[in-house]
């Protein structure tokens, strides 16, 4: 048979094999770079790696915030889902029918538009089967204790950036930085594997607050209950640990739920305890006495003649409720004798009251690092234009009118007193290391004043007694400033500052009740109600043993 033909056929296939081999080698060497580039364009993506936002804990490690996963749903207007899928999408997300079509038309040049952000896991599941609808993983910040911590924590916006409160102040610390990693993806853009290390990722760091969650919840409960009972406009409660300066509780009313962004009202957002200032009134009286005692011109037995119960300094008229006659410092304090306080003040130098107040922290920044914190205002008698002007300002200070302060500052002042004159800088974060503190007043003088402030069954503020514990405290009914200037006679503020137990204070509590209608027959005993309600639950909770027999 045709041997030639046989070899011809074999040779033909052999030649083809050689040609194909050449082509294979070419593809695998010369052309490989071009081909791999094209391949990589499809299969390699830079994927962002999101950093988890740091968690905020209370002082005992209770978790106050949580990062839930939420999904942002998006579509590509250049390659949108078809009609039926679009309808299904709108139905699943409760969007008005036709809205998406409209949006797609308007943004047809884009490759990416959000359909709905912050969608929960359930809805996300249902959307997985709709074609050409994509989802992006997001972290949703959830606040476990809602209203109780809203002012302290603040909240984040939809992109996870802090907007208010500590979430804002420590945003850099908490937020972290997204990183990048090169990934291999399959046709459906699902990640197959990482092609290198994650670059540039900085995880958000956790924050531990000085706040004691249980005290915070108690505080909110007590404050809300009294406010609601008497229909008061607003109020705050600040509780400090005087020995360390750590803020154990800080609540305001009205409050809001940071988890419910859609229904937030602007007037509920302010952290009044830190941001709003008020004239403290007689709340500052103890610090007048401190100045008096420190000056060595007065002692515990000194007597001041307050008759006839009224007194003039320049244009300022000073009035007592009645003529108390000659009284000692303790009585001046307990009766809130304006005349007594004024006369003491004028015996001191120009700056002594001012310095005493400054030492207590009034007019100074607390440096707790809270956005929008107020410092308050204090008149400086040395800057007065005349001698009489200076005297008037000194007297105004002593009466608690010549200055304004935040409830936090008021609490801080009493904390210095409770701490026997040593100032510990306040902190919203847990203090791992105690600072040495700054001595502002002598131990002896503070002991004397604390003794005068002790609440007994005979005290005016006897409502502030807490069974089993010795309380020292001072209340005040202070004027409110009207928007037009001058005082608003129809509204007043109630303050009560309590220190308990006096021997070794574990709590300094400041209760503020604001804009109470003068027509209603209320006095600062309403504020002491909040105090006792709080202290009764808080002290056992702190493990403080009662020092008195009931």
């Amino acid at each position: 048979m045709g041997v030639v033909r046989y070899y011809f056929v074999m040779g033909l296939f052999g030649l083809l094999a050689v040609l194909l081999s050449v082509k294979l080698l070419s593809l695998g060497s010369i052309e490989s770079e071009f081909l791999q580039d094209h391949g990589d364009q499809r299969t390699i993506r830079n994927k962002a790696v999101k950093a988890h936002r740091g968690i905020i804990f209370d002082r005992f490690g209770e978790q106050l915030t949580k990062n839930d996963t939420a999904y942002d749903v998006w579509i590509n207007p250049g390659d949108p889902p078809d009609g039926k899928d679009l309808q299904l999408l709108e139905e699943s997300l409760d969007l008005p029918s036709g809205m998406l079509l409209d949006r797609i038309r308007k943004r047809s040049d884009r490759f990416f538009i959000y359909v709905k952000r912050d969608v929960g896991a359930e809805v996300s599941e249902r959307l997985l089967k709709i074609r050409r609808v994509y989802q992006q993983l997001q972290e949703k910040r959830v606040y476990a204790f809602g209203r109780a911590l809203s002012h302290v924590l603040g909240f984040v916006d939809i992109d996870g950036k802090g907007q208010e409160g500590l979430e804002l102040e420590y945003d850099d610390w908490l937020y972290g930085k997204s990183g990048n990693v090169k990934v291999l993806v399959d046709r459906k853009r699902e990640k197959i594997k990482n092609l290198g290390p994650v670059k540039g990722l900085k995880m958000g760091q956790d924050l531990q607050l000085s706040i004691d969650l249980h005290l915070q919840l108690i505080a909110l409960r007590e404050l809300s209950s009294v406010i609601n009972q008497y229909e008061i406009e607003s109020g705050s409660l600040v509780a400090l640990n005087p020995a360390t300066g750590e803020i154990l509780a800080l609540v305001n009313f009205p409050s809001y739920d940071p988890n419910d962004r859609d229904n937030m009202k602007v007037n509920t957002l302010r952290n009044r305890a830190v941001v709003d200032t008020y004239e403290p009134g007689h709340l500052v009286s103890p610090f007048v006495l401190l100045a008096a005692l420190e000056s060595k011109q007065f002692d515990v037995n000194s007597l001041i003649d307050t008759s006839p119960g009224h007194f003039e300094v320049g244009a300022r008229k000073i009035l007592d409720i009645r003529d108390y006659g000659s009284i000692d410092l303790g009585r001046i304090l307990s009766k809130s004798s304006n005349v007594g306080l004024a006369k003491i003040t004028l015996s001191l130098t120009e700056t002594q009251i001012y310095d005493s107040f400054k030492g207590a922290g009034f007019g100074e920044s607390t440096s707790i690092g809270f956005p929008g914190e107020s410092i308050g205002v204090m008149v400086d008698p040395t800057t007065a234009l005349s001698d009489i002007g200076s005297k008037m300002e000194q007297v105004a200070l002593a009466a608690g009118n010549g200055l304004s302060a935040t409830p936090l500052q008021m609490a801080l002042a009493y904390s210095v007193l409770a701490n026997r004159g040593v100032y510990n800088s306040p902190s919203l974060l847990k203090k791992e290391k105690m600072d040495t503190g700054d001595r502002r007043f002598n131990t002896e003088t503070t002991e004397v004043v604390l003794n005068m402030l002790k609440i007994t069954a005979e005290s005016e503020a006897r409502g502030a007694m807490v069974p089993g514990y010795v309380v020292a405290g001072q209340g005040s009914v202070a004027a409110t400033v009207s928007a037009k200037g001058g005082y608003d006679e129809t509204r007043k503020n109630f303050f009560f500052a309590g220190i308990v137990p006096v021997e070794e204070p574990k709590l300094v509590v400041l209760v503020a009740l604001n804009n109470v209608n003068t027509a209603e027959d209320l006095d600062y005993q309403t504020a002491t109600k909040v105090f006792t309600g709080f202290a009764k639950s808080a002290l056992p909770g702190l493990g403080v043993e009662p020092s008195l027999q009931n």
Binding site: M1, R5, S21, L24
Partner: protein, 370 residues
């Protein structure tokens, strides 16, 4: 006598079956479902092999003449609406008792012994008369046309080339082949341009990078696989293209996936293995002819050319030198029908080789069977 089986053919075939199964498993991204189906097919093929190899060539030679009729019936039946299955636009399958039969393979299977038998019976006339060669050719062209109607472009062309090649080797006058050659080229060109779908395929094939996301998608993805494989490949299972990027990774483009995993050198190796099988069958055919059996020889030649052609075409399509045809690589591509038919043919080849060695091969002297 069985122990004198042709070792190289058997060993390389087993090797290829093993490579094929492993590659399919990888190309389907380790899908156990496909693996099971493939393994069952391998098992079935081996069982069928065992049975076929016991059939004397004499019997096959006797019934071979009905091959044309059988193939014709199948080819027409599949095109009738109720019998044939349409998948992806082509009607290639008939289902009988739960099995789907690939008609292209079956038509090939019946054509081979038929043509071998024809050649064997009509050798003198083929050698002498110029036009005599056209009779079987025309009959078989009918089959090719039926295939093209399915449409099974790849199957049709391979069948045509195999037929022409076998007739060529049977000694028909050269001039007739010139005519055949010209005629084939003309008809192929005519067919290629006859439908816009095919024209589009050809333009896309000539420059796939001009439209890499639509018409050029499959080819560009295939080429990317070759580029990624470089010379030594990414390693077994490491193919990226199979992750949804290359369609038909386990069938029409399995060579590309193999190359991505084993490199150009691995690819050349695989190609040589498949072509070796074809060569070996070719060799057995020549020995058979020299021993006096044109039936056996032609049968072997047809099979060899069919395997070699399928392989060359498959690889050619994968590397982009031929427009997409939808052709599987023998032994390797996932296709249970194809595997069974291939093993049936090899069984027959082994058988005729054994008979030749044993001297029991039916030899035709003149027109008589001895």
């Amino acid at each position: 006598m069985y122990k004198y089986y042709d070792k190289p053919l058997i060993y390389v075939s087993c090797l290829l079956i093993w490579i094929g199964t492993a590659t399919v498993y990888s190309a389907t991204n380790f899908d156990l479902d496909y693996l099971t189906k493939q393994l069952i097919a391998v098992l079935a093929s081996l069982v069928v092999f065992a049975f076929i190899v016991m059939i004397p060539i004499e019997k096959i030679q006797y019934y071979a003449r009905y091959g044309f009729l059988a193939a014709l019936i199948i080819g027409i039946a599949v095109l009738l609406p109720t019998i044939g299955h349409t998948v992806n636009g082509s009607t290639r399958w008939i289902s009988i008792g739960g099995f789907t039969i690939h008609t292209g393979e079956l038509i090939k299977l019946f054509s081979i012994p038929y043509l071998a038998s024809y050649i064997s019976r009509n050798r003198e006339t083929i050698l002498s008369t110029k036009l005599r060669v056209f009779r079987p050719l025309l009959m078989l062209c009918v089959l090719c046309v039926l295939l093209l109607q399915q449409p099974d472009f790849g199957g049709g062309v391979v069948l045509l080339i195999s037929i022409v090649g076998t007739l060529f080797l049977s000694g028909a006058p050269l001039l007739s082949f010139v005519a055949i050659f010209v005629g084939s080229i003309v008809s192929i060109i005519f067919l290629a341009l006859s439908s816009p779908y095919r024209v589009a395929r050809i333009t896309s094939f000539l420059d796939p990078w001009s439209d890499p996301f639509n018409s050029g998608y499959q080819l560009t993805q295939s080429l990317i696989a070759f580029g990624r494989g470089e010379l030594f490949g990414l390693g077994y299972g490491a193919s990226i293209q199979k992750l949804g990027y290359l369609p038909e990774a386990h069938q029409d483009f399995i060579f590309a996936i193999f190359t991505e995993e084993f490199g150009a050198l691995g690819a050349i190796g695989l190609m040589l293995l498949v072509l070796f099988v074809a060569y070996r069958i070719f060799h057995i055919g020549r020995l058979a002819v020299n021993a006096g059996s044109w039936f056996a020889g032609s049968l072997a030649f047809f099979t060899a050319i069919s395997i070699a052609c399928s392989a060359i075409f498959h690889i050619g399509v994968n590397v982009g030198v031929l427009p997409t045809k939808g052709l599987g690589l023998p032994f390797i591509s996932y296709g249970r029908n194809s595997l069974v038919v291939t093993l049936i043919l090899i069984a027959i080849i082994i058988r005729l080789d054994l008979e030749r060695k044993a001297g029991t091969l039916p030899i035709r002297l003149r027109s008589r069977i001895i």
